[in-house]
C-alpha cells in the first residue's frame, strides 16, 4: 500500500509528462495544462497523506523497489525514504508546484508548445520528487541532474532565441561543475562508509563503526563535505557558481518562480540538511559554507541594487536569500535554514508570479524603466506583490521577518562579522525590493502608448495562485515562531545536533529591533529616492563609475569567460591546430619518410649493369671479409 502510494506520488508527474509529450499535440490547450496540473495535484494529495501519517507516527516510510547499481563494496537500491524532511520539501514542491501549474495554464495559453511546457514542468516535478524522496545520495543525484535537465529545457523553452539557449546551456554546464563536486563527494562517502544510504551513514557515525577520531578518515570526510558543498553551490547558485541563475530568467516566468526561486535552487540546502550529521563533523567546511553564504548574500544584494530588469532583480534577490540560508547552514542551524527555505518559497514564488503578471500585462516588457503606476490597473497583483515584498524585506509580522531574523540572530551569536554582512545584505534587500515596487507600481506609466492601452489585470487563473501565496507569505512564519517552534520539533528526528535556541532575551529583542529598523531604513531610502525624487534609473549607456561596475554584475561573467572559457577554447585551438597537426603529421611523416627513402633508392637503381655488378662484388668482398678475415 505504502509502496504503491509512494509510486503514485512519484509517477503521477511522470505520467503527466508522458501524456503531454506523446499526446499533447492532440489535446486542447487547456486540457493539456489541466492534465499537467492534475498530475501534480495528485502528488500533492499523496504527499499530504504521508505528511499526516508521518507527523503522527514519527516513523519514516521506507520504500525499496529494486537494486539499481552494484559496486564492489555496496549496492545502490532504487529506494525511497519519506521522512519529515523529505515530506516537508515535498509539501511545498508539490504544493507550490500545483499553484504554478494552475498559473501557467493561463500564462502560457497562447504559446504554441504549451503541451511541451507542461510536459517539462511535470518532468521537473518528477525529478524534484526523486531528488527529495531518494533514500541515498545516488537517487538524489538522479533528481539532482534531472532537475538540471528540466531547468535547461525550460530556460531554453523559447528555443528560437539563441540568447535564451545560451542561458540554458550556461545553467546546465555550471550546474554540472557542481555536479562533479557532488559526484566526487559521493565517491568519497561511498569509499568511507561503504554505503551511500543516509541511514547507513548515520548509523555508521552514531554506532562508531566509522572512526571519527581517525585523522585520515576525517580529512577525507572534510574533502567529501567540501565536494558536496561545491555541488550545492552549483545547484543553489552560490559563489562562485551563481552566475547562471540571473541568466536563467530567460525562461518563462512560471519556470523562474517554480524552479529558480522556490524549489530546485533549494536542493543544495536540502542536501546539506539531509547530510547534516556528516557536515557537523567537519566544522572547517561549515565555516567555509557560512562565509560563502554570507558573501554571496552581500554581493548578490549589491548587484540587485542596480538592476533594471524586474526578473533580474528578483533573481539576485533569490541568490542573496539563498546566501542567507547557506549562512544558516554553515552555522549549523539547519532547521532555521529550512524555515527560510519555506518562507522564501512562499514569498519569492509570489513575487515571481506577480512579476509574471506584470510582464503579461506589459506584453512581455521586463524593463522597470518602462513601467510605473501599475497599481491602479492591477490591484490584486499589486496587493499580493506588496505583501510578498514586505515579507522579503523582513518586516513583522510577515513570514520573512521570522526566518531572516533567526538567521541573523544565530549569526550574531556565532560570528559577529557574518552578522554584519547579513544585516547589510538585508538592508540592501529592503531597498531594492521597494525600489522595484516603487518603479513598477507607483508614479506614472512610462511605457509606450500601445502598452498603456493594453494594460489589464490578469485573469483569475493567474491571480488565484498569487492570492494563495500572498496569504502564505503573510502567515507562513507561524510554523516556527520564536520560542515555540513547530518546525523545530517536527524536524528534530532529522537534525542530529539542533541549533542552540536562545531564549528570547534582551539581546534577541534588540536584534529584532535592529533588523526591523534596518529594513525600514532601506525602505525609507528607496522611498526618498524613487517616490520623493521621482528618480528613474538612467539608460544603460549613461551609467558610469562604480555604478557601472555594479550594474554589470562586477563583470563576473566577463572574468569567468576570460579565465575559464577563453583558455579552454584557446587550448582547443592549440590542440586542433598544433598537437593534432603534429601528431597526424608525425604519422603521415613516417609514411613520407618511407616514401622518400624509396624515392632515393630508385636513383641508386639506375639501370646500369656495371653498378649492379659493383654492388655484387663489393657485397661478396664484405661478406667474405666479415666471415673469414675478422
Amino acid at each position: 500500500m505504502e509502496t504503491n502510494l509512494a509510486l503514485l506520488l512519484l509517477l503521477a508527474p511522470l505520467a503527466g509528462f508522458l501524456l503531454n509529450i506523446f499526446a499533447g499535440k492532440k489535446l486542447s490547450r487547456n486540457l493539456s495544462g489541466t492534465l499537467g496540473t492534475i498530475a501534480v495535484a495528485v502528488s500533492f494529495a499523496v504527499t499530504l497523506f504521508f505528511f499526516m501519517q508521518v507527523s503522527s507516527t514519527k516513523e519514516p516510510v521506507m520504500v525499496n523497489l529494486f537494486k539499481w547499481m552494484t559496486l564492489a563494496n555496496f549496492d545502490v537500491n532504487f529506494a525511497f525514504q519519506l521522512d519529515q524532511l523529505s515530506l516537508l520539501w515535498l509539501m511545498f514542491v508539490t504544493g507550490i508546484g500545483t499553484l504554478i501549474h494552475v498559473y501557467s495554464i493561463s500564462y502560457m495559453h497562447d504559446d504554441e508548445n504549451i503541451h511541451k511546457f507542461f510536459a517539462y514542468l511535470n518532468l521537473f516535478i518528477f525529478f524534484m520528487i526523486t531528488l527529495v524522496m531518494g533514500s541515498n545520495l545516488l537517487i538524489m543525484f538522479i533528481g539532482w541532474e534531472g532537475v538540471g535537465l528540466c531547468s535547461y529545457l525550460l530556460i531554453g523553452f523559447w528555443y528560437k532565441n539563441q540568447d535564451f539557449n545560451d542561458a540554458a546551456k550556461k545553467a546546465f554546464i555550471m550546474n554540472r561543475i557542481g555536479d562533479l563536486g557532488f559526484l566526487i563527494g559521493i565517491f568519497i562517502i561511498g569509499y568511507l562508509f561503504h554505503s551511500v544510504d543516509y541511514i547507513d551513514i548515520q548509523n555508521a557515525i552514531v554506532s562508531g563503526s566509522f572512526d571519527v577520531n581517525d585523522i585520515n578518515n576525517m580529512t577525507w570526510l572534510g574533502v567529501a563535505t567540501l565536494c558536496l558543498f561545491i555541488g550545492a553551490c552549483g545547484k543553489s547558485a552560490q559563489i562562485p557558481l551563481y552566475t547562471w541563475l540571473p541568466d536563467a530568467m530567460a525562461g518563462p516566468t512560471p519556470v523562474s518562480a517554480l524552479i529558480h526561486a522556490a524549489t530546485m535552487v533549494t536542493a543544495g540546502i536540502f542536501m546539506i540538511t539531509r547530510m547534516n550529521f556528516v557536515f557537523d563533523l567537519t566544522p572547517d567546511v561549515q565555516n567555509i559554507i557560512a562565509i560563502v553564504g554570507a558573501v554571496t548574500s552581500l554581493i548578490a544584494a549589491s548587484i540587485g541594487l542596480m538592476q533594471n530588469d524586474i526578473k533580474k532583480v528578483l533573481a539576485y534577490s533569490t541568490v542573496s536569500q539563498l546566501g542567507l540560508m547557506f549562512l544558516a547552514l554553515g552555522l549549523g542551524a539547519y532547521e532555521i535554514a529550512v524555515f527560510h527555505v519555506i518562507t522564501h518559497a512562499f514569498f519569492k514564488a509570489c513575487l515571481f508570479l506577480g512579476s509574471g503578471s506584470v510582464i503579461h500585462a506589459m506584453s512581455g516588457e521586463q524593463d522597470m524603466r518602462n513601467m510605473g503606476g501599475l497599481r491602479k490597473v492591477m490591484k490584486v497583483t499589486f496587493i499580493t506583490f506588496l505583501i510578498a515584498t514586505l515579507a522579503i524585506s523582513g518586516l513583522p509580522p510577515f513570514s520573512g521577518f521570522f526566518s531572516k531574523d533567526e538567521i541573523l540572530m544565530t549569526a550574531f551569536h556565532h560570528n559577529k562579522p557574518l552578522w554584519v554582512i547579513g544585516s547589510v545584505a538585508s538592508i540592501m534587500t529592503a531597498f531594492y525590493m521597494f525600489r522595484l515596487l516603487y518603479l513598477t507600481f507607483f508614479k506614472g506609466f512610462r511605457g509606450t502608448e500601445e502598452q498603456k492601452h493594453h494594460l489589464h489585470e490578469s485573469p483569475s487563473l493567474i491571480t488565484f495562485p498569487l492570492v494563495v501565496l500572498a496569504v502564505l507569505a503573510l502567515v507562513g512564519g507561524a510554523i516556527s515562531l520564536p520560542g515555540s517552534s513547530w518546525l523545530n520539533e517536527y524536524l528534530a528526528p532529522i537534525i542530529s545536533h539542533p541549533a542552540e535556541h536562545h531564549a528570547l532575551g534582551t539581546t534577541e529583542y534588540m536584534l529584532m529591533g535592529v533588523a526591523v529598523v534596518g529594513a525600514l531604513v532601506g525602505i525609507g531610502l528607496a522611498y526618498a529616492k524613487y517616490i520623493k525624487q521621482g528618480f528613474v534609473p538612467v539608460p544603460d549607456n549613461e551609467i558610469t563609475g562604480f555604478a557601472k561596475v555594479v550594474y554589470n554584475k562586477f563583470y563576473v561573467d566577463e572574468i569567468y569567460t576570460a579565465i575559464v572559457v577563453k583558455p579552454i577554447y584557446a587550448l582547443g585551438a592549440f590542440f586542433k591546430n598544433v598537437t593534432e597537426v603534429a601528431l597526424s603529421g608525425f604519422i603521415f611523416g613516417l609514411g613520407k619518410v618511407a616514401n622518400a627513402i624509396g624515392a632515393q633508392g630508385r636513383t641508386v637503381q639506375n639501370g646500369s649493369i656495371g653498378l649492379y655488378l659493383f654492388v655484387f662484388v663489393l657485397s661478396v668482398c664484405s661478406i667474405i671479409a666479415y666471415i673469414f678475415l675478422k
Binding site: K169, F172, K576
Partner: protein, 480 residues
C-alpha cells in the same frame, strides 16, 4: 546449439546476402543479423540454465591452434551487443541507396562475423585472425561507400588501415612470443605463462599498442576523426559502436590477465594516458566545425574513460567499463545516425550550415536531445551507470583521476549542448528539414528504449557479467 552457430549464421548470411542480389540484399542482411541476435539470445538463455554452449575443435596441430569458442558472460555480452547493433545498423542504412548494394551488406555481415569471432575466441591466434579480419570489411566500406573527396578519404582510410594493422602486428608478436613460452595459444594457458617482469612489460606494451590504436587512446588517435567523418554512417557506426569495443574487451580478456604484474605496476601511467585522452578529446570536440568529427572526438573522450576504468584493475572499473561499452555502443550509433539523417537532408556535415531544425522537426529534436543527454551520462540513462562505476573506481585509485576523469561530465555537457544548440535550435530554418520517417523513428525509439531501460534497471547485465569479471580480477590479484 552452441556459439559457433552464431558465427555460422553471420558468415552464411554474408554469402547469401551477396548472392540474393542488389534488390533484396538489405532485407536479407536484416534477416540474418536479426537471426543472429535471436540465436545469441537463445545461447545466452542456454548458458544461463547451465547448458554447454562452448565449441571446441582442433584446427592446426602444429603449431597448436584451436578453434575454441568458449562462451562466458563477457564474451556473450559483447556478442549480444554486436548482434543487436548489427540489425540496427542495417536498419539505419535503409534510407540510403548504395551502389553495389549486395557487396555492401555482405561486408556488414562479414564484419559482424569477424567481430563476434573476436569476442568468442579463446585461442589467441584465432582471436587475432578474427581481429584482423574485421579490418578488411570496414576498410572497403569506408573506402568505397564513404563520402567526400575521394583523395582525402583514401588517405584517411589507408592511414587507418595501416595504423591499426601495424598496432595489431605487435600484438601478434606478443602472442607468438607467448606461444614459444607456453606452447599454446589458449588464453587460460597464457594466463599462467610465468613471465618475468621484463617480459610482461614488453608483452603488455605489445598488446597496448594494438589496443591503443584501435580504441583509440591518445596519442594514437589521429586516424579516428577523419575516418569517422569520411566513412559512410554505417561504417562509422560499426567502427565506433562495436569495433573499438573489441579492443576494450580485449584489455580485460587478454592484456591484463596475461601481464598482470606489468598491469599493476604501470597502471597509473596508462590510466593517466587514458584520462589525458578524455580531456584532450573533450576540448578538441569543442573546436570542431564538422558534426561527425565532433562526435568522433567525443567518442575519443568516452572510450578513454572506459579504458581508464579497465586499467584500474578493480571490479568496479571492469564492470563500469563493460556497462559503458554497451551503453556507448548504443548511444554512439544513435548519435551518428542522427548526424547521418541531418547530413542526408542538408547535404553537409558543417555545423555552421545547420540550425533551426527543431522548429521543423520537433520529434527528431526530442530524440536527438535524449541521445545527447545519454551521451553526457545523465542519470537514468544507461551511460550513467557505466560512467559512474568507472569514475568511482578511478576516484578510488586516486582521487585526482576521479576529478580529472570527471571533467568529462562538464566538458561533455559543454560540447554536446553547444553542438545541439547550433545544430538544432535557433530559427535559422532556411532549409527544409523533413520530419523523421517511421523507420528512422523506430530505430531511435529502439535505441532510446534500451538506453532508458538499462539506465533504470541495469542489474540483468551487471549481474550477468560480474562473476566472470571477478574471475579475471581474482587471477590478476593472485599473480600479484
Amino acid at each position: 546449439m552452441d556459439v559457433s552457430f552464431i558465427l555460422i549464421i553471420l558468415l552464411f548470411g554474408a554469402v547469401a546476402t551477396y548472392f540474393v542480389g542488389d534488390k533484396w540484399a538489405s532485407k536479407a542482411a536484416l534477416l540474418f543479423s536479426t537471426a543472429a541476435f535471436a540465436a545469441t539470445l537463445y545461447v545466452i538463455y542456454r548458458y544461463n540454465i547451465g547448458e554447454k554452449v562452448s565449441y571446441f575443435h582442433t584446427w592446426i596441430s602444429k603449431p597448436r591452434i584451436l578453434l575454441h569458442f568458449q562462451a562466458d558472460s563477457l564474451s556473450l555480452a559483447m556478442t549480444a551487443l554486436t548482434t543487436v547493433l548489427t540489425p540496427i545498423i542495417v536498419l539505419t542504412s535503409f534510407g540510403n541507396m548504395f551502389p553495389k548494394t549486395k557487396s555492401f551488406y555482405a561486408l556488414i555481415l562479414f564484419m559482424a562475423f569477424a567481430m563476434v569471432g573476436t569476442f568468442l575466441s579463446t585461442d589467441g591466434l584465432v582471436y587475432y585472425i578474427f581481429w584482423e579480419l574485421s579490418l578488411i570489411p570496414i576498410y572497403f566500406i569506408a573506402l568505397i561507400w564513404g563520402s567526400g573527396d575521394a583523395e582525402s578519404r583514401k588517405k584517411a582510410v589507408v592511414k587507418f588501415f595501416i595504423y591499426t594493422f601495424a598496432g595489431s602486428l605487435f600484438m601478434l608478436v606478443s602472442f607468438i612470443y607467448l606461444y614459444t613460452k607456453t606452447g599454446s595459444f589458449l588464453n587460460t594457458h597464457l594466463y599462467n605463462a610465468h613471465l618475468t617482469e621484463k617480459e610482461q612489460f614488453w608483452i603488455f606494451l605489445g598488446f597496448f599498442l594494438a589496443y591503443a590504436i584501435k580504441i583509440p587512446i591518445i596519442p594514437f588517435h589521429t586516424w579516428q576523426a577523419n575516418v569517422y567523418q569520411k566513412a559512410p554512417a554505417v561504417g562509422t557506426m560499426l567502427l565506433s559502436g562495436i569495433m573499438l569495443k573489441m579492443a576494450l574487451y580485449s584489455i580485460v580478456r587478454w592484456q591484463l590477465p596475461i601481464a598482470p604484474q606489468a598491469a599493476a605496476q604501470y597502471k597509473y601511467i596508462f590510466i593517466a594516458l587514458c584520462i589525458a585522452g578524455v580531456i584532450y578529446g573533450s576540448i578538441l570536440a569543442l573546436k570542431q566545425t564538422d558534426l561527425k568529427k565532433l562526435l568522433a572526438y567525443s567518442s575519443l573522450a568516452h572510450v578513454g574513460l572506459i579504458a581508464a576504468g579497465a586499467y584500474t584493475l578493480t571490479i568496479d572499473g571492469f564492470r563500469g567499463a563493460f556497462l559503458q561499452m554497451i551503453a556507448h555502443g548504443f548511444v554512439v550509433v544513435g548519435l551518428f545516425y542522427a548526424a547521418e539523417i541531418i547530413s542526408r537532408r542538408y547535404n553537409t556535415g558543417e555545423i555552421a550550415d545547420m540550425g533551426g531544425i527543431r522548429i521543423q522537426s520537433p520529434k527528431f529534436a526530442s530524440m536527438f536531445m535524449i541521445l545527447v543527454m545519454a551521451s553526457v551520462a545523465l542519470p537514468l540513462t544507461f551511460n550513467f551507470i557505466g560512467e559512474f562505476e568507472v569514475l568511482y573506481s578511478l576516484a578510488q585509485t586516486n582521487i585526482w583521476f576521479g576529478v580529472l576523469g570527471g571533467t568529462t561530465i562538464i566538458l561533455g555537457a559543454f560540447y554536446m549542448l553547444r553542438m545541439f544548440q547550433q545544430v538544432m535550435l535557433g530559427d535559422k530554418g532556411a532549409k527544409v528539414f523533413a520530419d523523421v520517417t517511421f523507420g528512422e523513428g523506430f530505430v531511435f525509439a529502439l535505441i532510446i528504449g534500451v538506453l532508458l531501460f538499462f539506465g533504470v534497471y541495469p542489474s540483468p547485465i551487471a549481474d550477468f557479467i560480474t562473476p566472470d569479471l571477478q574471475k579475471v580480477l581474482l587471477h590478476i590479484n593472485q599473480i600479484n
